[in-house]
């Protein structure tokens, strides 16, 4: 089978409800029906700007979760590692590139049994915080109740209204005024999740409701073949034109990220040592030691974290905590940080935590050439002890 296909659900209802022809929905439903996996892990849209992580073994439920929700930023990898036993049962998870990368990192650290996690990846141009979206709608004079869904098309923010109208706005202008995508998404450097079994998206589709699927693993190919044989999914091979368009869109998104990286990281690098201290330690003095940044971190997992008070590095009852708290955490996550932005999202005092974590990870990439969450068989630099002096 060719690596690149355009596929869609055969079932008319799924095709209608799913985004891009309902391929992802059809595959998930198929995997549950055939007992290839025990559970599917999805995101379910709530009313207005709500969403929830949804775990189900019922194939019918999958259809209700069709369509991607751009204001959903679930911590899929953490959810799996924390609440699911991947040694006991098999799951299929729908993930964005950062989720998938975190799953791969956690698998390397033996926190997830990736053999039992089938990853269906979605291409991603970025996500929004619900609170920011609300403010965006306010400035754009759109009522939240009227919104069906939102999207990103190249450099435009697209709002699909319930009455069928579509409005678009320049994303860059919104972002320069402090709105727009989450900060980590702006800097994100993986747009197509090729570490998944299947990488799906609309990039590269020229016309019609279809999903461009890149088959990235052997088991991914087997599943697609089976689904086609059972008549659940239909497909055609992607043409060179399809592939070219997809490459162009990916590169466009990567260029945008590069610009944002230059902006944020350039600012940080141009600060003098004194300015850096004033900036970061000024920030850290606001910390209320809620431990949320540690608890949500997609790549933190230690059972007895060194930051726990009984480990004596961080004194119990002291607020703000000693700067050791932040510097230690920074050292610990630097090699594996996948820039998922969860730490920054949860910080109640709004410290730009993912900015420093991502920048430090860039340093790791420079020193050891290691990019986290890309290849399962590539060991993390600090876990390698061979002599490469």
């Amino acid at each position: 089978m060719n690596k690149f296909i355009l596929a869609w659900a055969k079932d008319r209802e799924i095709r209608k409800r799913g985004q891009c022809g309902g391929f992802v929905t059809a595959i998930l439903k198929f995997m549950l029906e055939e007992n290839i996996v025990d559970y599917a892990l999805l995101v379910k849209k709530g009313s207005n700007l709500e969403y929830s992580i949804f775990l189900t073994s019922n194939p019918e439920d999958v259809v209700d979760c069709a369509g991607s929700v751009l204001w959903a930023t679930p911590n899929i990898a953490k959810f799996i590692a924390e609440y699911l036993d991947t040694n006991e049962y098999k799951i299929a998870a729908v993930c964005r590139p950062c989720d998938a990368r975190a799953i791969v990192e956690l698998a390397k650290m033996n926190q997830i049994n990736i053999k039992n996690v089938f990853m269906i990846g979605l291409n991603c141009s970025g996500t929004f915080l619900p609170a920011t979206l609300e403010r965006m709608f306010e400035t754009l004079n759109i009522r939240v109740e009227d919104v069906e869904k939102v999207g990103i098309k190249k450099d435009r923010f697209v709002v699909f209204l319930k009455d069928g109208k579509v409005e678009t706005f320049p994303l860059e202008d919104l972002e320069k005024s402090g709105l727009g995508r989450r900060e980590n998404c702006r800097r994100c450097e993986v747009k197509i999740p090729r570490m998944c079994d299947l990488a799906c998206g609309k990039w590269g589709v020229i016309e019609g409701k279809k999903t461009f699927v890149e088959i990235c693993s052997d088991r991914g190919e087997i599943i697609v073949k089976k689904a086609v044989e059972s008549g659940v999914v239909e497909f055609e091979y992607a043409s060179d034109e399809n592939v070219k368009i997809r490459d162009e869109l990916e590169n466009f998104a990567l260029k945008m990220s590069e610009k944002w990286q230059d902006y944020y990281f350039g600012q940080m690098s141009s600060m003098s040592y004194e300015e850096r201290r004033n900036y970061w330690f000024g920030m850290f003095e606001r910390c209320i030691k809620c431990y949320a940044c540690r608890d949500v971190c997609a790549v933190c997992y230690c059972n007895d974290c060194i930051l726990n008070p009984w480990r004596l590095l961080v004194k119990g009852g002291e607020i703000p905590p000693s700067f050791s708290f932040h510097i230690t955490r920074a050292v610990h996550i630097a090699q594996s940080c996948v820039n998922c932005g969860q730490c920054q999202d949860v910080c109640p005092v709004e410290i730009p935590l993912s900015r420093i974590a991502h920048k430090l990870n860039k340093t790791v990439q420079e020193i050891w050439g290691y990019i986290p969450g890309i290849r399962l068989d590539e060991k993390q630099p600090l876990s390698r002890a061979e002599n490469d002096i």
């Binding site: 600060m271 003098s272 060194i306 050791s324 510097i327 920074a330 050292v331 420093i356 430090l360």
Partner: protein, 151 residues
């Protein structure tokens, strides 16, 4: 105000240097330097660890935050670690730690890693002198958590 930064007090400031030394090499070298009468600055305080691979980044961070002006880790030469690869691990962590503290605005020259074997008493004394000079030039560590916290 951090001690030593006040006007006129500069001369009184003495660097506070912590050396985290592997028991099998750098610690022995310090001993040797002593018995061979190679003098090294009295500002140096030695902490003994079983191997440089025992040095977690937290050790260095804690030292810096609690008032050390410089931290030096001493380990066995590559290939000579008694636990096979502790010093390679130390080197990796050290490289990372250096970039991290630099990002937060602490001069990376305040931390140093050296391979000093048990027979290199002279090297030990020289490295300490050199490091002491470096730290003296850099001045007091601008980051002393306790004092910041008590303001």
């Amino acid at each position: 105000m951090i001690e030593g930064q006040e006007e006129g007090k500069m001369e009184e400031w003495e660097p506070n240097i912590i050396v985290i030394a592997c028991n099998w090499c750098t610690y022995q070298a310090a001993d040797l330097a002593g018995s061979l009468r190679y003098s090294y600055p009295p500002t140096v305080k030695i902490v003994r660890v079983p191997c440089s691979g025992r040095v977690e980044p937290e050790f260095i961070i804690e030292a810096l935050i609690n008032g050390a002006d410089g931290v030096l880790i001493g380990g066995c030469h590559p290939g000579d670690c008694h636990y096979k690869n502790g010093n390679y691990k130390a080197l990796k962590r050290f490289e990372l730690l250096k970039s991290v503290i630099e990002e937060f605005g602490i001069e990376p020259e305040r931390v140093r890693l050296e391979w000093i074997s048990g027979s290199e008493g002279l090297k030990f004394a020289e490295v300490m002198k050199e490091f002491n000079d470096t730290i003296r030039k850099l001045g007091p560590n601008p980051l002393k958590w306790k004092e910041i916290n008590s303001v």
